[in-house]
């Protein structure tokens, strides 16, 4: 913990850090690769849509001594359609019959009850007409689009349009990855999955917003100084909030992991499992994208601004003048030269808490050690 704390401190001060922005193309490439794989998986394999979307019936039986194959036979006899039977928990069964309508499902349920020798009220049945699944899915898409629209407007107002665009890209990225994984692995898509997917919306953005908030704060007076380019400050923001990002992600994932464990381990297939699975995948993707995709993307967009271009020029010119190596990628070794310039640098560099004087003092020793 003390190590972690020190790590946090050093990340905070920018003594150490990973060059997220500089190496962004590696991560862009990786993400594009994953996205293409996801899209390919989606178009080739397609999604395994559950009964709730396709229409049909799912019967769940808590306790029965009937074997899976026997139950399958019963179900197919009763319905005249193919049936999928899975075991559930210790001695429960889950019987899926596709493409029967709600009226026919009643008879199947009654028939099954007599065949299996259990009272009909002990059969849990989920009967879904095909149009209902469409409706659920359509409404979910509709919600998704409206949400994206609103959130882009909100972020554009609260931050700026570049951040909004980057956040949106990251969001689409997360959803594509999650959906792609579902297509590739062949998990069944149920309303629970959709719920999980939609929750990712808010959650993936939570992380992104935390980083953006720090970025916004640190770049407030960026044009008044000549020490760092926008990209470098963006990098510092990510590194500075890294501990926070890791912590929030871990804490968010822990309850979901609990759900997944219980949902998958104890209950077998079901709503809990579906929600937590898509949440787990989506949250992980969300944490990744807010650090590796969203912020570098903002930096990229920002660097195209004439003001930022000019700033970069000034910064580079100054560094060249100072006769230091100006490789902008090595943040760790870069730190030292800036410290030497602290005295004449503009005071409002990285927000009010990084006062030049204290920076210099605090940094002097460890850097000296390094030399």
């Amino acid at each position: 913990m003390s190590k972690l704390g020190t790590l946090g401190a050093r990340l905070h001060r920018g003594e150490i850090g990973y060059d997220f922005v500089g190496k962004r193309f590696i991560w862009y490439g990786l993400s594009i690769l994953i996205t293409i794989t996801a899209i390919l998986g989606l178009s080739v394999r397609g999604l395994n849509m559950g009964i709730e979307f396709e229409g049909g019936a799912v019967f769940t039986i808590e306790k029965t001594s009937v074997s899976v194959s026997q139950a399958e036979k019963y179900a197919e006899e009763a319905s005249g359609h193919d049936a999928i039977v899975q075991t559930l928990g210790k001695d429960g069964l889950r019987i899926q019959v596709a493409t029967i309508d709600t009226a026919a499902a009643d008879k199947v349920s009654a028939k099954l009850a007599t065949d299996l020798g259990i009272p009909e009220k002990d059969i849990t049945g989920e009967l879904v007409g095909p149009s209902w699944g469409d409706q659920v899915a359509n409404k979910a898409w509709q919600g998704l689009v409206i949400f994206m629209f609103l959130v882009v407007i909100y972020l554009a107002i609260a931050f700026e349009w570049r951040m909004a665009v980057a956040a949106l890209v990251a969001l689409i990225h997360d959803i594509t990855i999650t959906v792609g994984i579902y297509a590739l692995v062949g998990f069944e898509v149920t309303p629970g999955t959709v719920i999980g997917l939609l929750t990712i919306l808010g959650y993936s953005l939570y992380d992104t917003v935390v980083v953006f908030d720090s970025l916004k704060e640190q770049t407030k007076d960026i044009t008044k100084q000549t020490r760092w380019t926008y990209s470098e400050i963006a990098d510092r923001s990510i590194n500075g909030t890294l501990v926070r990002s890791i912590n929030t992600t871990v804490v968010a994932l822990l309850p979901v992991a609990g759900l997944l464990f219980i949902g998958g381990g104890v209950l077998g297939a079901g709503m809990l499992n579906d929600i937590s699975l898509s949440l787990f995948v989506g949250l992980a993707a969300g944490a990744y994208s807010s650090i590796f995709i969203a912020t570098p993307l903002v930096a990229d967009l920002k660097e195209r601004e004439p003001q930022m271009k000019a700033l970069k020029k000034r910064v580079l010119a100054k560094r060249a003048q100072a006769g230091q190596d100006d490789a902008p990628t090595a943040t760790v070794s870069d730190e030292q030269p800036y410290d030497d310039e602290d005295e004449d640098a503009a005071p409002a560099v990285v927000g009010p808490r990084n006062q030049p004087a204290s920076r210099n003092r605090g940094r002097g020793r460890p850097s000296g050690k390094r030399r």
């Binding site: 808590e62 822990l254 979901v256 003092r361």
Partner: protein
């Protein structure tokens, strides 16, 4: 770090206590309210409690593109409510969802099949002539109505089918009661509209009563037996009386009179279909002294039929000059007719209250409701599975909470006490509010909502982490705890607000747009996000301010989670230099 800034902390001295007191009072008040209301647990949804949940989707009928609107949906919900509650189902609930769905939740232990049959069919409203009626129930004798004298005992009149029916009905146990019932038709006098527009087709063919033809003796006897056995004061009996009755056949039915007593009827075949009612509304008679009335407008076909039936009924004697307005097998009103009403519009007057009149008008309109529904999904959950799912959800929540707590304790040490206390406050608030929302707005905790609550543990804890990391950053800058808390807060606050707003936005959009289970989830997520903001502002921050004064935290005890040394803080420059030594030693 022993360099407190007296001024700043002094100013905020009284504030944190007040906020804490405020939220504690709120918790106590809400909890008290919960116990007072008697709803100490959240209402459980069908998937956790067991039962049947039916989703019905309105179908657009050709030629009526705008039929699916809020008014029609609300009306449909009203009817369905009447139907399922007519089944003797307690706590069945019917609600709209989205623009064209109706969800019917029927708790366990009910005949779900019957409920499904009842609910799915469109409302059926018929005008049937009354052949016999009789008041039942204790209230009948307790309060004889003054108008009982207006007509004598039920006189067997010349109507074909009614003949037998009434003669036996007078032989039934309470002939005096049946006399009392005559009060209703008097007050429910159906008068010809003041401004009739006589249609040319109003030829009163009195003799052409369709009821005359199909009356086989056996059928009549069966009906008679049914009528004698009918006990309208029993809910279960009432529920089944209207079942499976064809409109073209005579039937028995129940209904309430204006005194709220149950009366039973023998009704002739349907003369006018409820769909022929074009419009019905409650109006207040400003000119006459009739008070509240219900006016009906018929379609052209309806007005012709209505003209015929009223012309015929007007010649009969009570009670056979009445017709029953039958909605889903129950007589909602039985006005009498004095003259043929041929104008296509009629009004029913009587001693209506405003609500009575509006209710009747609504019911009359039901018959004209153009919506038909299809079952979109039916899910039946056995109580055992419901219990298991609830249990699994609770275990998952406990595990999730435990993991988060362990992580917080390991990482934040003493500071985690603040986070855990805040999580507890948040949990209590969520539980209490969910319990109160059950009876309040019909909120039912279903499995997705449980998931939402579990996921919310993470979101809530995230807010604390944002705050704590800010404080730690400030400490790393070399500040002592108290200023660190005060400086870190405004920034953490902004981050928390922005990100919670995004979460809330997601929840709100999902809640408004989506249907089904997604909605329950969105609701919980939105609720917990709001509570998160409340807890962070009114509990976590004040608590932190207070704890910052405690020696344990302020001096950065190694178990406090705020040890500047462990955090790798820089020596404070402009203040005391005491702390700089250990840091330097460590780094060197």
């Amino acid at each position: 770090m022993a360099a407190p800034k007296k001024g700043r902390s002094a100013s905020s001295q009284s504030k944190p206590g007040r906020s804490l007191a405020l939220i504690l009072i709120a918790i106590v008040a809400l909890t008290g309210g919960m116990f007072l209301s008697g709803h100490t647990t959240p209402r459980l949804g069908i998937d956790l409690a067991g039962g049947t949940s039916i989703t019905l989707t309105a179908k657009n009928e050709p030629g009526q593109p705008n039929a699916i609107n809020k008014t029609n949906m609300d009306t449909a919900v009203d009817i369905m409510n009447r139907r399922v509650n007519g089944l003797g189902v307690s706590e069945a609930e019917v609600q709209t969802q989205g623009s064209d769905n109706i969800i019917v939740n029927i708790p366990k232990g009910t005949n779900s099949k019957q409920a499904r049959e009842q609910v799915g069919t469109t409302a059926k409203l018929y005008f049937r002539p009354v052949l016999a009626l009789e008041v039942q129930g204790v209230a009948a004798t307790a309060s004889p109505t003054p108008s009982a004298s207006t007509s004598g005992s039920p006189s067997p009149s010349a109507s074909e089918t009614g003949d037998k029916a009434t003669s036996t009905s007078s032989g039934s146990p309470s002939p005096s009661a049946s006399a009392t019932s005559q009060g209703r038709p008097v007050t429910d006098a159906l008068k010809a509209d003041a401004t009739p527009t006589p249609s040319g087709s109003s030829s009163a063919t009195t003799s052409a009563s369709p009821s005359a033809t199909p009356t086989a003796d056996a059928a009549t006897a069966a009906l008679q037996a049914k009528y004698t056995a009918l006990d309208c004061t029993k809910k279960a009996v009432r529920a089944v009386t209207g079942d499976g009755v064809k409109p073209s056949e005579p039937t028995v039915a129940c209904g309430k009179n204006s005194q709220g007593q149950w009366q039973k009827f023998i009704l002739g075949p349907s003369e006018v279909d409820g769909t022929e009612v074009e419009k019905a509304q409650a109006v207040f008679d400003t000119q006459g002294a009739a008070g509240w009335q219900v006016t009906m407008d018929f379609t052209s076909k309806g007005s012709k039929q209505f003209g015929e039936v009223t012309g015929r009924l007007a010649q009969n004697q009570a009670p056979q000059n009445e017709f029953g307005i039958v909605l889903d097998g129950e007589v909602v009103s039985n006005p009498y007719v004095s003259t043929a009403i041929t104008g296509g519009s009629a009004q029913i007057s009587g001693s209506f209250t405003q609500t009575d009149a509006q209710d009747l008008a609504n019911m009359l309109s039901y018959g004209a409701l153009p919506l038909t529904f299809a079952e979109s999904s039916v899910s039946t959950v056995s109580p055992a599975l419901g219990d298991e799912q609830l249990e699994a959800g609770l275990i998952a929540g406990a595990i999730g909470l435990a993991l988060v707590v362990v992580y917080l304790v390991v990482y934040y040490r003493g500071l985690s006490a603040v986070a855990i206390a805040s999580l507890l406050v948040s949990a209590v608030l969520t539980y209490v509010i969910m319990s109160l929302l059950g009876p309040g707005i019909g909120f039912a905790l279903n499995l997705p909502a449980v998931c939402g609550a579990i996921v919310a543990i993470g979101i809530t804890a995230d807010s604390f982490i944002v705050f704590f990391e800010r404080i730690r950053d400030e400490i790393r800058e070399g500040r002592s705890l108290r200023p660190a808390v005060e400086r870190g807060w405004p920034r953490a606050r902004r981050t928390i607000l922005v990100s919670d707003f995004v979460s809330f936005l997601a929840a709100a959009v999902l809640f408004i747009v989506t249907v089904g289970k997604v909605q329950g989830f969105a609701f919980t997520l939105g609720l917990t996000t709001l509570l998160d903001v409340v807890v962070v502002f009114f509990f976590t921050k004040p608590l932190m301010t207070i704890l910052a004064r405690k020696k344990f935290f302020a001096e950065g005890h190694s178990w406090s989670g705020l040890d500047p040394q462990r955090l790798g803080a820089k020596p404070p420059l402009r203040r005391t230099r005491r702390a700089s030594a250990p840091v330097d030693m460590k780094e060197a």
